[in-house]
Structures are given as C-alpha cells and as structure tokens.
C-alpha cells in the first residue's frame, strides 16, 4: 500500500492534491478506510488524521465502516424512481436479506442508496464496486447476485 500511495503522491506532486486519490485507492483495495490506513496516510502525506477523517466522512463513496466485498449502490433519484428503483431496492434487500447500509453475514454484499449515477436513459441502474449495471429487473439483479455468489464459492 505504501508504494502505491507514494506513486500517487509522485503523480500529483502535492500531498493535498494526492489525498483524495489516495483515499479512493484505499477504499477500492480495502472496502473502507480504517484507522490504521488513516494513520499510514497521515504519516506519508504529512496531513493530520483529523483532516483525513473529515474527508472520509464527507464523500459518499468512501466508507468509515467495514463494508462487503461487493458494494451495491442503487440509484434512487427521480429518473430511476420513475422506472421502478423502489421495487428494485426491495428486491435486492429480499435477495440478500439485509437492510440499506448493512452487510451480509458472509461479508460478501453491502447495499447503499445513492443519488443520480447518470444512467437515466437505462434506468433503473446500479453500481457494484466500479461496474455499472443498467435496465435492471427482478430477474436481472437476481442473476447478477447469483453469479457473484457462484464465482465466490468456486
């Protein structure tokens, strides 16, 4: 991790500018930005832990708490709402048997609501980690979840 942080710092030439990119990197690697990571970032970039914590709490896609390996962000804004986002959310909650913001006991999935993700022409849409899924239905989302589960088992 140290090496990657230093690489980002080198690219952006400045600790402050590199900071958010570093946090994005840790989030994608670990699934959340824990105290240990904050400590490390603070040491390398020479930015106070409190300042780093304030960023972690500000941005939607950076989590303070441990999340599942697959983070499902369901768009609930109006274009998706008009195409059944409500129904999609309840389907996902049912399939995984968790509420919004929770993680499945096996640590595989977390579900979050999110604002417009710019896929309004293919609503309803979701993001799982860094991948977009469009035009979703009950059947499609079930298939996606089942496929992830199957891949993880093997």
């Amino acid at each position: 991790m140290k090496r990657e942080i230093k690489k980002i710092l080198k690219e952006f030439e400045n600790s402050e500018i590199a900071l958010l990119q570093v946090l994005n990197y840790i989030q994608s690697k670990k699934g959340f930005v824990d105290d240990e990571s904050i400590e490390e970032v603070s040491n390398i970039l020479k930015i106070s832990r409190d300042e780093i914590r304030s960023l972690v709490s500000f941005y939607h896609f950076i989590h303070q708490e441990k999340t599942g390996k697959y983070r499902i962000y369901v768009c609930t804004n109006i274009p998706c709402l008009l195409k059944g986002a409500d129904k999609l959310i309840s389907d996902i909650k049912n399939f995984l048997d968790i509420e919004i913001g929770e993680t499945t006991p096996d640590g595989l999935f977390s579900v979050f609501e999110t604002e417009c993700i710019g896929q309004c022409d293919s609503a309803p849409a979701i993001i799982i980690n860094d991948k977009i899924y469009r035009n979703l239905s009950r059947e499609k989302i079930k298939k996606i979840i089942d496929r992830i589960k199957k891949n993880e088992e093997s």
């Binding site: 690219e11 952006f12 600790s15 402050e16 500018i17 590199a18 900071l19 958010l20 990119q21 946090l23 994005n24 989030q27 930015i47 300042e51 304030s54 960023l55 500000f58 941005y59 939607h60 896609f61 950076i62 609930t76 804004n77 109006i78 274009p79 709402l81 008009l82 195409k83 999110t114 604002e115 417009c116 993700i117 710019g118 896929q119 309004c120 022409d121 293919s122 609503a123 993001i127 860094d130 991948k131 977009i132």
Partner: protein, 414 residues
C-alpha cells in the same frame, strides 16, 4: 412519429463513436486540425477573441459566456490552471457522459486549445466517481495524445507544453459547483467558497483558474476550426450553437439528442422526438430547475426562453414525469436529494432542506394534513437568497414551484 427536421443538426454528437473512439479515427474526422493551425498561426488572445465572438455560453448549467471567463484570467500571474468540470451530478443529466466515453479526443483538443488561450501549462479533468468507463477512456486518450505529440512537452514542436491529469471525485454533488470542486481538489471537503474572488482571479491553489464544463470545451475545437461566424449560424442570436439534451423518465425513447439552441420546443422534444404519451410535467434541466406543467411545454429550448417561463435550461437534463408514481413522492425525493447533498456550510440550506424534506415526508405519509404544503412553501421562502452557493436556492425554487403548480393534484393524492 412526426419527423422533426432539425434533428440532423448534430455538430458534437457526430464525434461520438460507439466503438471507434480512437485517435486515428478522430484525426480522420478532422480532429486536431484546429490545434495545429492555432499553434502555428494564432496568438492566445486571438483564440479568446474568436471564442468571445462565437457567443459560446457555458453548458454546465449557469450559461456564463466562455470567452469572457477566459478574458478575466490575468495575464501576468503564473502558474495558471484549466480545469474541466466533468462532475456531472445534476439528476437527469448524462450528456457529458456521452462525450467523455465516446468523444474523449474532442475534449482533449478543446482543453489543449483552452489552456493555450489562457496560458495554462497544467490542466485537470475532475471526473465523477460514477463514470468508470469514462475514466478508462480518458486515461487512454491522454496517453495516446501524448504519443502523437498533441499533448505533453513542446506540443507539435512549438514552445507550448501541457500536462493533463485526471482527478477522480468520491461522490458529492456539491463538488460540481466550481469553488467546491477547487476545495475538493485541494484535499479538503467540497465546501463552496465565498465569491468574489472568482476562480479566474484566485482559483486552484490561489492561482488564476478557468473551470469549464465538458460540453463547453468540446465546442471549442469546432469554433476554432470553422470560425465564430459558422458557430453563430446555429441557434439563436443570444444563445448560439447547439445543445445536447439528455432525456429520461416517462418517454419511449430516452437518450441523448443534439439540437440547435432555441430551434426546438420542449413539447417537440418530449412528444415527437422522445415519444412521450401522457405527461404530467417536465424538469427542463435537472431537478434544480423548476418543473413545467404539461400545458406549458410550448417553449423554445434555450437559455432566454426558459428563463422567461420561470425556469432554466440548466444542464439540459430533461426529466419527464407522468402519474405512474405519486407527485408527492417526486417532490419529496427532490427535497431529499438536496438534503442529502447539502454540504452543511450555510445554516439556511443545511437546516432548511432537512425541514423541507421532513415536512414533505410527513405529508406523503399522511401524518400531517395538506396544510403541510403551506409550511413547506414557508421553509422554501426562508432558504431563498441566504446561501453562498446555488444548492439551497435551487432546491427552494424548484420545490416551491412544484408545490404551487401541482398543488391540486398533490392534494388529490393525499
């Protein structure tokens, strides 16, 4: 479907390629011709003058004249920065996504010309986290442009050098506001700054900075290649050029459409082009712009005409809604969005959007009677004119107009 003649006036979308979004194809289509000519023949001031003459207005939502923005950048201070605002977060807006994913070289050329014009040697693209495909394509486009010497050190053998870096956001609508974007890039929370000073004078790291939207910058190579007069042959006198609309919601053909400014009405766009059938209302430029009722759609799509109707062209994110889901739900969700995205810096916005959402939620759940709508309007009145940035203001205006226009229908629902 009635044929809409104006549809073929595509100047930006013609550069969008589903598969062949590579540099060779872009060059074949005439790409980088403008940049070559500029670096050989024109002084930076002449570029600014041409863009000024074209009448190009910012396509991010506010519609500020682009040439003028560049003109305000002081000549003598160094360094200067160009930042492309690709943090397209306005609900219902996805036109920049199309350009970023399918015409990345058009943006790179636009940014290179803009940087030359204002004297920047360093530029950034602030890209929203929600666009992973755009990230991949932009990184690739930057790499290939450097390889072809359209970017990087001593571009095309001249003294002009430019470095473009991709800066990815982490999910915050407010970072689309230019000063919040600058704060975010400086490693802080995205809280808007007090203006003035404007970024042109004191922007990124305190240096002169031009912040331009993706679609705005994509227009620049075309203006510089074909001239301001050519650009002015599209659209209206006050709003020249074309505009990309992203249409979603209760229509048969949602998607991206480009038209000359002011040469198509909202009614033609949603009914004839996009195949809407039963419409209750339309947000013309994302949910930050007050909705129009189904009887008010006979209005030209340009900055001035929509303003006269009490709303805005905004980002061109047209959301069409019917009665499939209750209007009170759409209204509550509108308030909820701003409540979630308020950065918390100004009390009227932070508290006001929360109250507004709470009241509307209670009306929706029938916990309070329809008088709650009066209370909601009162809260809107108290937010207006009291915030640093437009977030609280647009929430208040949009929700208030929504309630006033659809009051009868909403009362029927509850």
């Amino acid at each position: 479907m009635k044929k809409v003649k104006k549809e073929k006036r595509r100047i930006l979308l013609d550069f969008c390629e589903e598969k062949k979004h590579n540099i060779e194809n872009y060059i074949k289509k005439g790409g980088f011709k403008a940049l070559k000519r500029i670096l050989k023949e024109l002084k930076p001031d002449e570029v600014i003058e041409e863009v000024k003459n074209s009448g190009l207005k910012g396509r991010g939502g506010a519609g500020f004249p682009t040439g003028l923005k560049w003109h305000f950048i002081p000549k003598k201070i160094k360094p200067k920065f160009l930042i492309c605002n690709a943090d397209e977060g306005e609900p219902g807006t996805f036109k920049d996504r199309e350009l970023l994913e399918k015409a990345p070289y058009l943006l790179i050329e636009g940014m290179t010309i803009a940087s030359y014009a204002i004297g920047a040697e360093k530029a950034f693209i602030y890209l929203r986290k929600e666009y992973p495909l755009a990230k991949e394509r932009l990184l690739n486009a930057i790499k290939d442009s450097i390889k072809h010497n359209f970017l990087g050190n001593r571009i095309l053998g001249t003294k002009f050098s430019l470095d473009i870096k991709l800066f990815v956001g982490a999910g915050a609508y407010i970072c689309g506001e230019e000063t919040a974007l600058l704060e975010s890039m400086e490693g802080k929370k995205g809280l808007p700054r007090l203006k003035p000073p404007y970024p042109a004078v004191s922007g990124f790291l305190g240096y002169p900075t031009a912040v331009n939207n993706v679609e705005t910058l994509c227009n620049v190579p075309l203006i510089m290649e074909k001239g301001a007069e050519w650009f002015r042959s599209f659209g209206t006198e006050k709003s020249p050029g074309t505009k990309i609309f992203s249409v979603s919601g209760a229509v048969k053909r949602p998607g991206i459409y480009e038209f000359e400014m002011g040469k198509i009405t909202l009614s033609e766009l949603v009914y004839e082009v996009c195949g809407a059938e039963k419409i209750e209302g339309v947000f013309p430029g994302g949910i930050s712009t007050p909705p129009l009722k189904h009887g008010e759609l006979d209005v030209s799509c340009d900055f001035e005409s929509l303003f006269q109707k009490g709303t805005f062209l905004g980002s061109g994110g047209v959301i069409v809604f019917d009665r499939e889901i209750p209007l009170i739900k759409i209204l509550r969700k509108t308030a909820e969005f701003f409540k979630n995205e308020s950065c918390g810096k100004c009390t009227p916005c932070r508290e006001g959007t929360l109250w507004l959402w709470q009241i509307l939620k209670e009306v929706e759940e029938r916990k309070i009677s329809k008088e709650g709508l009066d209370l909601a309007i009162e809260v809107c009145e108290k937010i207006k004119g009291k915030c640093l940035c437009p977030l609280g203001e647009t929430c208040a205006i949009s929700c208030e107009v929504f309630i006033r226009k659809f009051r009868e229908e909403i009362e029927g629902e509850i």
